[in-house]
Amino acid sequence: MLKTGHRIIFIAILAIVGCSQEQQKETEAVAQEVTLVETIVAVGDSLTAGFGLDENQSYPAVLEGKLRAAGYPYQVINGGVSGETSSGTLSRMEWILTLEPDIVILEIGVNDGLRGVDPQVTEDNIRQMLRLLEESEVEVVFVGMKMVRNLGPGYVSRFNRIYPGLAEEFDVVFFPFFLEGVAMVSELNQSDGVHPNAKGYAIIVENMYSYVVEVIERSPKL
């Protein structure tokens, strides 16, 4: 990756807001303290946002703790938006790229399924996202999703085929199922039966960790 300069959120704010000189100095002082941190942006829906939990219990926060403990100087920004469909995520890719991420963890599509959106639409959207990330030379951990059975066999099989197919097409690191070992286990989910609880997120991070490390390790900068 050829990115240079600070990879911290304040730069993006300054770009958007157009801060005054004084404030620029102020923020730069703060920025010095975290300059050397690499950035992972966790992009996704409520499963990434940590719906119903404190932000520090969501998987991006837990993952950041685990990476730091292992000596990887990464911050993991939570870019999850509850209720978002793949169309919404696609529309904000530009914004996500302003964060200048080294790595993006892309988890999206489940709300498309729960709203019965045509799987072809979901596939096209995710394909465009992966293309944009590829063009921006951002490393990706692509997270697979499986649709609930009650949507019907035709819909479920079309939906579930999206993820492995795209992973192969773009040759990205593929974490096959975000909720592996967590989905439908009542002890690991909140009472709505959909969103993991803190215990569930701990398992998700365990499952995901090796894929993230794989991407970090193959990153040319480290």
Partner: protein, 832 residues
């Protein structure tokens, strides 16, 4: 007891007697009607609660039941006195048999016997249980339109092809759902396995409805099930403890009606007091003469108490009878609003309660005038009116007891000690304020310098000692203030809840419209459709203080810790007003480099956020510091789109966003438009709220009729007070007219003085009423009901003009005969 004496007295004071009887009747009509209705509604709602929930006990879960709960349900069913039906509810994609079209639908699979209580109403009118047979489905009308199917066609659901047997019109078990992503399909449990949609990996809402033969066992059985359930995932409720929106709605409505009926009772009570005082004043000379002939004070008081009781009995009979007639006709008035199975009727308790309340009201409000009778001395033949005010510890003690009883009555009627005490406190404060205000105004009046003799005489007449000006103005002003308050509160409630559901309220919402789809979308749905940008973000701190999710969870209602929808625009929405600030983003007061943000009053209250506070947002990983530049409020209802946080466009234009549209589309056109939208923009989700909006509109219109109907009793009571006040001072006017004439004044001069006097009286009363009414209404709306306040100044003007016209008309009409009379005949009458 002298019966002839009583009849003669009534016949001689016809107008006062009629006003008194009407006041007694009015005091009871609305109270009896509302109380009786409340009892009927309460008992009916308890039985309707079963229909709303479909069973006596309901077990809910999003997972298969835990082994403990399963075993317990089997054990409960084993004794044979409990029956159960299970339902499975989930979303799935329904298809035409030919596979051409598909639609996300809300599926409910039900076992035989569903529902135990309530009903599923079908288009054909056939019973639900005879239609939903294995191999068949019952669907919502919208599904047929969206998929282009008809009854009798086949529908593919999961692995099964099922025949559409009927169309569901309504389900008593389905509460109003605003945001539903698909139309309903009801399926027989016999087909559950064929569907192959419910198994591990499915997201399903499992429910078991239980019906118990022995009602007394409901709580015990519910407790048993609850103890064996997995608390974090399973919920056991009974029909009685499940919060019912219907019950809450009626509780609020009946409370407001109770409030109006108590107001009416108090106004009618003042009317009673005032009309009886008028009647007794007229009789003052008669009392004096009777006393001089040897009758005791007790004799007179006893006879007039009897007179009051005779008149009251007529009033009670009229009041209770009319109250029941009103209640009987509630089915017309409340048509479509009352629970379907309500049994409107009169019970012995209603009658007893009505009589009890009536006696109490009459005793309290007639005590003061009646207690004055014994104070009339024989010498009153030669004097002016007797002072009726309270003297002596015993009188005050009795009056105090009466007051306490009245307080009890108000609390009993409102069924809430705290609100009852507020009400009483408010009423006492109202009277005290009125008295203070009237004193101030009379003082100001006494210092007015004028060259007009008739105006000077009018002022002097109002201010002369012994004239009842102060008490009349206090009575009139208090009553008018209460009437104005009812009117203003009612209209402000309408503005907030009723006028905000106009016919053109949005009926179709579209979510997730993308930036690059804006132009095409507007082209498809119509150029007048506004698209609202939506940017998801979290509020992380206020003035540097972090938002704590734990603290927010403890609060009732909305939480600051959730994700919010931000938007950008440069002007107010049509239904917004500024509470603070004159524009959305005024440049002054905003710190350099910080983005201005306009917030809605709702969120300002939630977080105690003030102007110039600094808010830190996390917009999907990017921190955004903003300073509050204005606070807005809304004038419409929840059906219109609204945004807590509005930013200037330049700062969020590039932020990740989707667009949201709220449109009004005729109900019949919606399915076709939904198809067009989804075909052209498959990522866009549509939500059809036409049914809900239409239903809400109808309910609100009904509510407005009911409240106006009950408020009209208060208005009638107010008019009676006005009439009785004029009658009360008639004698004084006659005397004044005579004196003026003896002193050489012409009829024109006397008329002028009366006109000025009446006009001043009306202006004083009306003026005080407006000051107090506006203040009281603002307090009720802003502090108690928490709704926006509109002063409706036109109503105040109408009240003032109306009072002046009415007082002048009544005053002049009642004085006209006096003015034309020769003084000598009056003096002869007085001395004979």
């Amino acid at each position: 007891m002298n019966l002839r004496f009583l009849l003669r007295e009534i016949a001689h004071s016809k107008s006062q007697s009629v006003v008194f009887v009407l006041c007694v009747a009015l005091s009871l009509i609305s109270i009896v009607a509302v109380n009786s209705l409340r009892r009927d509604v309460n008992s009916s709602i308890m039985s309707d609660a079963r229909s709303l929930h479909g069973g006596d006990i309901i077990v809910h879960s999003h997972y298969e039941y835990s082994p403990g709960l399963k075993t317990e349900i089997v054990a409960v069913l084993a004794n044979g006195t409990v029956q159960a039906v299970q339902t499975w509810e989930f979303y799935s994609v329904a298809r035409r048999e030919d596979g051409r079209e598909s639609l996300l639908s809300n599926i409910k699979v039900v076992q035989d016997g569903y529902p135990f209580y309530g009903q599923v109403l079908l288009q054909s009118g056939r019973p639900f249980s005879s239609v939903l047979l294995p191999g068949k489905v019952v669907v919502a009308g919208a599904l047929l339109k969206r998929l282009g199917l008809a009854v009798g066609d086949s529908l593919r659901l999961g692995e099964a092809d099922l025949e559409i047997a009927d169309v569901v019109l309504s389900e008593s078990l389905r509460p109003v759902d605003f945001f539903n992503f698909g139309p309903r399909i009801l399926v027989s449990a016999a087909d559950l396995n064929r569907l192959d949609l419910v198994s591990k990996g499915s997201r399903v809402h499992y429910r078991t409805l239980l019906r118990l033969e022995d009602e007394n066992q409901i709580s015990t059985v519910a407790l048993r099930l609850q103890e064996r359930s997995a608390r974090s995932q399973e919920r056991v409720t009974t029909f009685a403890n499940t919060e019912s929106r219907v019950k809450r709605f009626f509780d609020n409505l009946l409370f407001f009606l109770s409030l109006i009926s108590v107001f009416t009772l108090l106004l009618a009570g003042i009317g009673m007091q005032s009309s009886l005082a008028a009647l007794l004043r007229r009789k003052e000379k008669t009392f004096a003469m009777t006393r001089s002939l040897g009758a005791s004070g007790f004799f007179l008081t006893f006879h007039y108490l009897l007179l009051v009781m005779v008149l009251s009995c007529i009033g009670w009979a009229l009041g209770i009878g009319s109250g029941f007639m009103v209640e009987r006709n509630f089915s017309h008035l409340f048509g479509g609003l009352l629970p379907a199975q309500i049994d409107l009727g009169v019970s012995a308790l209603d009658i007893l309660e009505g009589i009890g309340l009536g006696v109490l009201a009459v005793l309290f409000f007639t005590y003061l005038p009646l207690s004055g009778i014994k104070k009339v001395k024989p010498s009153a033949i030669f004097r002016k009116e007797t002072d009726y005010s309270l003297r002596g510890g015993r009188s005050w003690g009795l009056f105090g007891c009466g007051l306490l009883l009245l307080f009890w009555l108000v609390i009993y009627q409102l069924e809430d000690v705290r609100i009852g005490l507020y009400f009483i406190g408010g009423f006492l404060v109202l009277v005290a304020f009125t008295a203070l205000l009237v004193s101030g105004m009379l003082f100001a009046l006494s210092h007015i310098k004028t060259t007009s003799l008739s105006l000077r005489q009018a002022v002097r007449s109002l201010l002369q000692p012994g004239n009842a000006t102060r008490s009349i103005v206090v009575t009139l002003a208090s009553s008018l203030a209460v009437l104005l308050t009812i009117f203003l509160v009612e209209h402000n409630l309408f503005d907030t809840y009723i006028n905000s559901y106009p016919k053109d309220a949005p009926s179709l919402f579209c979510l997730d419209i993308q930036k690059n789809q804006q132009k095409d979308f507007v082209e498809l749905v119509g150029a007048d459709t506004e698209l609202f940008p939506v940017i998801r973000a979290r509020l992380t701190s206020i003035n540097g203080k972090k938002i704590s999710r734990q603290d927010e969870l403890k609060k009732r209602g909305d939480s600051l810790a959730r994700e919010f929808n931000l938007t950008y625009r440069e002007s107010l929405l049509e239904d917004e007003v500024f509470l603070q600030g004159k524009s959305l983003f005024p440049e002054q007061n905003i710190r350099a480099g910080i983005i201005p943000v306009s917030i809605l009053d709702t969120v300002a209250d939630m977080g105690d956020i003030k102007m110039a506070d600094v808010l830190l947002f996390n917009v999907q990983g990017v921190l955004l510091k903003a300073q509050v530049s204005s606070i807005r409020s809304r004038t419409k209802s929840m059906l219109y789109p609204f945004f807590y946080y509005v930013f200037p466009e330049k700062y969020l234009r590039t932020a990740p966003q989707t667009f949201f549209a709220a449109m009004h589309v005729e109900k019949e056109m919606i399915p076709q438009l939904e198809n067009d939208i989804v075909n052209r923009f498959p990522n866009v989700s549509t939500i059809n709220v036409s049914e809900t909006a239409a239903e809400l509109g109808k309910i609100m219109l009904k509510l407005s009729t009911i409240i106006t109907f009950f408020a009209s009793f208060s208005i009638l009571a107010g008019a009676l007070i006005l009439v009785s006040s004029i009658l009360a001072t008639r004698m004084a006017r006659v005397r004044e007219a005579v004196y003026y004439k003896i002193l050489g004044a012409g009829a024109r001069f006397v008329l002028q003085v009366f006109l000025f006097e009446n006009c001043l009286l009306a202006l004083l009363s009306g003026g005080c009423a407006i000051v107090l009414g506006q203040f009281g209404s603002w307090a009720v709306c802003s502090l108690l009901l928490d709704i926006d306040y509109n002063p409706h100044w036109k109503a105040s003007v109408v009240l003032l003009v109306g009072t002046v016209v009415l007082v002048l008309t009544l005053g002049v009409v009642s004085s006209y005969s006096i003015i034309r009379r020769k003084p000598a005949s009056f003096l002869r009458e007085q001395l004979s």
